[in-house]
Amino acid sequence: MSRLTWAALGAASQPFLAATVQASSINTSSGWNMPAGVTEISREVFGLHMTIFWICVAIAVVVFGVMFYSLIAYRKSKGASAAHFHENTAVEILWTAVPMVILVLMAVPATATLKKMYDTSQADIDILVTGYQWRWGYEYLENDVEFFSNLATPREQIHGSQAKGDNYLVEVDEAMVVPTGQKIRLLLTANDVIHSWWVPDLAVKKDAIPGFVNETWFEVDEPGVYRGQCAELCGSGHAMMPIEVRAVTPEDYAVWLDSKRDAAAAEAAGAGREWSMDELMERGEATYTTYCAACHQPDGKGVPPAFPALAGEGISVDPDALEDHKKIVLHGKSGTAMAAFGENLSPSEIAAVITYERNAWGNDSGERVQPAEIQSMLESE
């Protein structure tokens, strides 16, 4: 596909990318077993899993075989009379030694695989993964690309008023995109509580711990979409922070990076013009739903005292507090759970969401905040 196509797609490139890679998507899970996955490591892990599984099956067959044979053969109802033995040193040594040998046989390949999993050296791309309640943030450290990845499943599907899609709860608005055949090193940390980044097809699961940084790596061979979820209980949205990794060819990856930059440029251009109230409200509602509604609630009523109400009271209806409102959204509020969005959302999104908060739910202040105002606030700092 031509470069032109990508550029034209701009910010809306994600759905298109989805269409192209889904054709080559590989589903390695049978639905009831661990997926063999799409990396050398994941296939080794799968092999290890199946080996141990069959060893366990063999042990179970022998143990249960003897047990059920005894239960059937030595029934009292069939006239069995009990023998009198109650110890046998040779047998006891044997059934201590044999399991030891089996365990050593299991430990050898496990150790070898684990060493490989811990070797993060010579990575091609470093991505900082940050867990938030309840979304993932990805920062491509060498490329100055940074974005949030949010659950894309609509609320209507979750609450049953709309049919559930194929990727219910495992689809995101913006996936992590990686090139095939390159070693991706992930650095993991968290903003609030402990999260855990898990994609079964990559055999990667690593905790993201606030204040600490962890690392892991993967290298995908085949283009495709690989889905996962947060694996560590992180609060009420734990089920709603999925992971989507899109592996594309290195050429497509370069195009994607460009498209991200173009999208950023388009956003920046958007920040320069005057936005209408309708435009701001539309963009603002979308941004609010994704980033604000989890705490301040879809109806703006909040969960006081932790998450103050925005509807009908507080900062969003105080005409004198507009500047404070902007600052808090941009930089967070010290001493509270309010995060800073200035680095992760565009000026247009921030302007739109503030406009939305000041006009939705009957607040109707009529105030419009233009992206340019936010832009100039950011630049003056």
Binding site: Y74, P99, L103, M106, A110, T111, N167, I194, E232
Partner: protein, 549 residues
Amino acid sequence: MASDTSQATVQVSTSAVAQGDGAHDSHGPTGILRWVVTTNHKEIGSLYLLFSLAMLFVGGSMALVIRTELFQPGLQFIQPEFFNQMTTMHGLIMVFGAIMPAFVGLANWMIPMQIGAPDMALPRLNNFSFWLLPVAFGILLSTLFMEGGGPNFGWTFYAPLSTTYAPPSTSFFIMSIHLAGISSILGAINIIATIFNLRTPGMRLMDMSLFVWTWLITAFLLIAVMPVLAGVVTMMLMDINFGTSFFNAAGGGDPVLFQHLFWFFGHPEVYIMILPAFGIVSLIVPTFARKRLFGYASMVYATAAIALLSFLVWAHHMFTVGIPLVGELFFMYSTMLIAVPTGVKIFNWIATLFRGSISFEVPMLFALGFIVMFTIGGLSGVMLAIVPADFQYHDTYFVVAHFHYVLVPGALFAIMAAAYYWMPKWTGYYASETLGKWHFWLSVIGVNLTFFPMHFSGLAGMPRRIPDYALQFADFNMLSSIGGFLFGFSQLIFVWVLIKAIRGSGEKAHAHAWEGADGLEWTVPSPAPLHTFDTPPPFDPLTESPSRH
């Protein structure tokens, strides 16, 4: 217990009590208050057992709330916030309110009777240990009605979710954990003092029943790790209320320290919940195989080995937190090593069955169910020990399946087996065989229908503790929910069985209720009078010891 009570009043006036504390009974109050102030090991044992049964149904109801929500994908009945409270409370109540008190109840009833002691060594402390529990769980349950709801951070309460981000009720949760912990510690001290000092003359340690042995080792585990739990919740309390930063990275603390401390308690805790079960099965299998337990000494050593190893494996619960390679390998190897003594136990039980004369009364059915399904849980435990594979299993339903296999058809089945086994001794009447068999078979079907599909949903990628899930997990979850309801409602049969036995309907039991049974408890009448072994019974190790040649 009605028959027990009426009998007690007769017995009390006539019996001489070995210890001053017991004299309390003869002038004590009657009716309900008598149960409140009782210092008798059998009455306290009954209180513990009834309390744990009540908690089993409370915790079980919460499990059914969870299974109802998970019956289908989507959020239908409850909100994620409440779902998290249910999973947390279910875990806490089952671990600290159902399984542990049930074993303490069995210990109270049976340890003095198996070692020929008149009562527990510290009867008044015994009463106090019990009554701490209803207070502890009253507080814990009341948090559900507090502002912000009850604990919602999982029974493992990882910081900072349980500190900085916890609901306001968390201080009450901590208080209830403290009370339950004190209760366990006092109970353990009492059991150790009883076993070391009140054995009938001539009974050496290696002459004790395996139930007594496993409980002795369990009591030491309790003494060793309950202070760690108390310490960890105290640190949480300070982080929440006094501005310390033990677990808060922002203040220079470390959330991973919480996990190390919690699992240093938590892994021995797992064995606290299973060692007495090993003891019970080691009594029941020989009884109904009519053959002495194979390898008594190796059973004792294996139990001790498991207990010691349990202090060296804690980090296998935290393979994904980013432990250095050397650490991961150490904990992988030490965890795998536990399979050896555990295997020895299973092989010993099977060798006991081999060439026995086996009958299948209800206690035996539950014990056999235990062996099969505990082994399944043990084998999935070996799989979980393999670190690279654990990266895929960790925090999924595969883990949920694993620990439910060792705790439900494991620990709970052993408790049920014990209840059926000793019910003739407690009530004077056999439990109904017909109802008991219904109870057993419906439980077996229910438990496997609930937990076996969880292996598959976990391997296919379903994380634990989620109120809603992707569509590919729907079939397995529906099966699990159906199984959960079947299992849950089957337990009502047990209540019926128990009421029938207490009311005295059914077959009357002899002193020696089971033909193949060994042990001093079978030398006293059924039902056991309120006071037994006021004078120590004769015991000849040469003919009565389970370790005799």
